[in-house]
Each structure stands twice: as C-alpha cells, then as structure tokens.
Amino acid sequence: MTPELIGALSIAVLLALLALGVPIAAVLGLVGFTGLALLTSIEAATIKAGVVGWETISRYELGVLPLFLLMAHLCFTAGASRDFFDAAAKLLGHRRGGLATASIAGCAGFGAISGSSLATAATVGLVALPEMRKRGYAPSLSTGSIAAGGTLGSLIPPSGALIVYGMIAEQPISKLFAAALVPVATQALLYIAVIILLCRRNPALGPVSERVPWRERFASLGRIADIAVLIVLVIGGLTVGWFTPTEAASIGSVLAMLLCARRGKLTIPALRRALAETLRTAGVIYAIIIGAIVFSVFLGATGLASHLTALVIDANLDAKAAAAVIVVVLLLLGSVLDGMALMLLTVPIFLPMMVGLGMSPIWFGIFVVRTIELGLVHPPLGMNVYIIQGIAKDVPLGTIFRGVLPFLAADMLHIALLILVPATALWLPGVLA
C-alpha cells in the first residue's frame, strides 16, 4: 500500500467509526496511531502519541485554555453571564434573534482577548448556551451561531493564526492585523444578517420578548457595570501592554474571582464547583486536541496534502480561479487536518504561486486564515463543533452542523467577496501606511 492510499483509506475508517458512536477523540487518535504505525512502526507510533499527549497538556500556549475556561466558569458562578444576557435581552430581546446577535458580539469581544477560535467558541459557548436555551432559543440556532462566531476569534487581532502566517510568509504582522479588521467586521455583520433572516423565516428559532421601558434597560445595564469593568480591564490591559495575550487568561480569571467576591458569590463550595467544571470541560477539549494532532501528524506523513496542492499548481489557472480551487482544496483538507497543520503544510506551497499570479501576500494571509478557519465548522469534522458538542452534550452533532449550515453559506459569500474585491483586506493597511 502506498502512503497516499493508506491516507485515503484512513479517512473512510475514520468516518465509519465516528458514525458508530466511538468517542471522537479516540477515533481521531486511534486511526492516526494505526496509520502512523503502518507507515513507521508500532514503537514509533506509540512514542509519537506519547509526545503529542504530553506536549498538549504541558505547553504554556495551550495551558492557558483551562484558565480561559476558568474565567468563564467564574463569571457563571458570579451570575455575571445571566446578568449580561438579561441586559442583552432587555436591550435586544424584542428584536428577532437578539440574543444570538449578542453572542456574535460576545465572540467578537472575546476574540479580541484570545488568539484562538477554540478558546473563543468554548468560553462564549459556556456562558451563552444555557442563557439562550433558558430563553427558548432553538439549539440549532444557538449552537450554530456560537460555533460560527467562534471563528471570529482567529481573525480578530491578536490572532495566533496570523502571527504564524506572518512568520511563514515573512510578512509584517502589524499589516496583517490591520488587514484583518474590515474582513472580520464584514464577517460579523454577515453572521448577524443570517440570524435576522433565519428568525424572520421561522420566528420560533429565536423567540421575541416584550419591549421593556428604557428605565428598566438602564437598570439592567447598571447591573453589568462590574462586568463591563472586567472586560475593559482585560482588553485595555492587552491594548496598552500591561500583559501579553497568554497572560490575559490568568488576569481574567483573577478579575472574575474578584467579581464573584464583590457579588458575595465567592464561597468555597462555589469555587470548588467552578474548578471541577473547568477541569471537566478542559478534559474534553484536550482529548479532542490530542486525537486531532495525532491524526494530523499521520496525514502529514502520508503526503496526501502535497499531492492535492501539486494538482492545483499543475492546473495553470488565473489568480481568481486559482483562489477558488485553493478554497476547495483547503476545505477538503480542512475536514481532516487541524488548522495549524494545514497552514504549515500548504502556505509555503500556495503562497509563491499566488504571488506569482499577482496577488498580495497580505491579502493571501487574510484569505488563507479565513478559509482555514472554515474547516473548524464544516462537516464531517469540525473542531469548534466538537467543542460545542462537548459543552452542550445533549444537542446532537447533526443539529449543530445543521445550525452551522446557514453561516457556512454566509462564509462562502464572504470568501467570494474577499476573492473578487481584494480591497476589503488591502484598503485599511494602505490607508494606515
């Protein structure tokens, strides 16, 4: 068997095992392990799995994930998330899908703290899902909007993905950050448009509450003043350089703990519960990440990705057609590889080709990060969707993927816009230069 054939077969086995109800992390990890053992040896595959497992839980960069989750659970303990959505309900609840819109805004806000889609989806999901459910939102709309909204986190600066791209492509990171702003704003607006359209067609998806008088709205805003201070301190501290993005998780947790104390909710049992739930959520996410990386390492070793990219290069297309084909290739690979691996594998190959066709490397960075992050939500595999499923366990995966579909349609529209009007990315850095 050639490595490429092993790679193709493994994907079929992967899908079958997933459908049969084997835990997602175990499917990814075991198929990756078996494939790697076929390509190398059982000994080598075992060692590699051990390395991936250990590095995932011990790396500082990933270690901040549970701290972000702790922040979310502490906000929950403080009743802050309830108050936040109460305020959102009073302000927007009389509009269709108002809370889903508030969640998109929450994702954008959290995305400005965190560099990662996963952390964004997990944290905002923890806070927002129960609140939307309490107010009668359909699970498909609530989970779908957060899975999609989470992808905002990887484009809004600080963006881990853009930093890595800048290093591979040798492009100024400040320019990439500036270039991301207009696309990310249009992306968020498109998501909000999707929510409004969905709720107009089927009002039962996001029930409307009664319009409340302004006095009550202000009162609800008053109750979240301390939350607003927390958010301003974290984002502000990052902006003026009091701490780094990775340190923001700890600072945020400490502030959330102070919030609990201020509201008289910081009891030992409450703290223990918040910590236990943080660990449980983090364990689900770690297991999926470990499985996904083992699988990704194996697929990288099969050379499947380089084959697909070679096909594109051989086709000799013009810039826009080539971009469209790259979208298809990235979406195909994105259904089986994790985002970082995908970027490391394909950018060095596609970038020179697109630059040769006259496209700007800054534009390509936004385009490629934008497209790769779609892989986090599209079926059959999507890390954000798995994470949301880990949080909202009783919502079937099919429902979440169905909920994501309308957002995916918006994503495709957005990417088409990015390809046809490169100025959406290039205008702002040009103005700032």
Partner: protein, 166 residues
C-alpha cells in the same frame, strides 16, 4: 459537560455531589494546580510592573498546567463527558446498541492506553536524564509519571463504563 435542564441554571442548580475516590483526588489536585497557575501568572504580571520580577514564573505555570491537564482528562472521562456522535447509535436496535456502546468505550480505553504507554515509555527513556526546567530546576520526571498514571486510570474508567453498558 451536560447542559443543565432548561429550568435549572447556574448558581440555582441543585448541587451535585463532587466525585469521590481517585477521581476526587484528581479534581482536588487539578483544582489546586489551576489556582497555582493562575496566581503565578498574575503575580508575574504584577511583579513586572512593581519591580519584583518573578523569573521562572513561566516554568511554574507550565508545570502546574500539566498537572491540571492530566487531571482534566480524568475528570472528563469519569463524568463520561467526551464528545460522541449519537446519530447512528440512537437509531439502531437495542441488541446492536448493546454491542456498539461497549465497543466504543473499549476503543476509548485503547486510545488512552496508547497515550499512557507512549508517555510512560518516554519517562522511562529519560529516567537517568535528570530532566529539569532551566531557571527553577523543577524536575520533570514526576510530572511525566503523574500524566502516565492519570492516563492509565482514564483507560480503566473507560473499561468500567464498557462493562456497565455491556
């Protein structure tokens, strides 16, 4: 983690008993580790601004999150919280389910066992390496062993669930 039923939320939720036994130990250790990581990172930031730099804070955070991470995997598995696709499982006959459900759990056990063997093998390889962090000299061998035992324990949790569902 499951969502609470729609009428029962957040701090109003009926308190569930915290896990006991080895899982309880994992929860306690993981909680302490999380708090240590959080406090260390936050103190390092404060120290930087108020002139008492805590060199090596990053190493302590790293060591703590590795303990927290290992405990997290135990906690998630003890709670049966791992993400699963139910589409087919919910539609097959009870007889088929009686085969599929435990089989899935056994594969879960196999996955964590592979991780445990790999992790333990590396620890064994490095047993004489005196592996320690640069600035604080925190030894890594105990941390690797801890992760290995946590993963082995996780595998037994899956086997136990499989036996219960068979």
């Amino acid at each position: 983690m499951s969502l609470p039923p729609p009428d029962d939320f957040g701090e109003e939720r009926a308190p569930q008993p915290l896990p006991t036994g080895l899982t309880g130990v994992a929860v306690a250790l993981g909680s302490v580790a999380l708090l240590v990581a959080m406090a260390t990172d936050a103190l390092a930031v404060l120290g930087r601004h108020f002139g008492f730099p805590l060199l090596g804070a990053l190493e302590l955070v790293q060591a703590s999150v590795s303990v927290a991470g290992a405990c997290a995997i135990v906690c998630a598995s003890a709670a049966g919280a791992h993400a699963v696709i139910h589409a087919v499982l919910d539609r097959v006959s009870p007889a088929s389910r009686a085969v599929l459900a435990p089989a899935g759990q056994l594969l879960g056990a196999a996955f964590f066992l592979v991780l445990a063997v790999g992790c333990g093998w590396i620890a064994w390889d490095l047993r004489a390496a005196a592996e320690a962090t640069d600035l604080l000299g925190i030894p890594l061998a105990p941390l690797r062993l801890f992760a290995t035992f946590a993963l082995i324990f996780t595998a037994t949790l899956f086997v136990r669930t499989a036996a219960r569902r068979a």
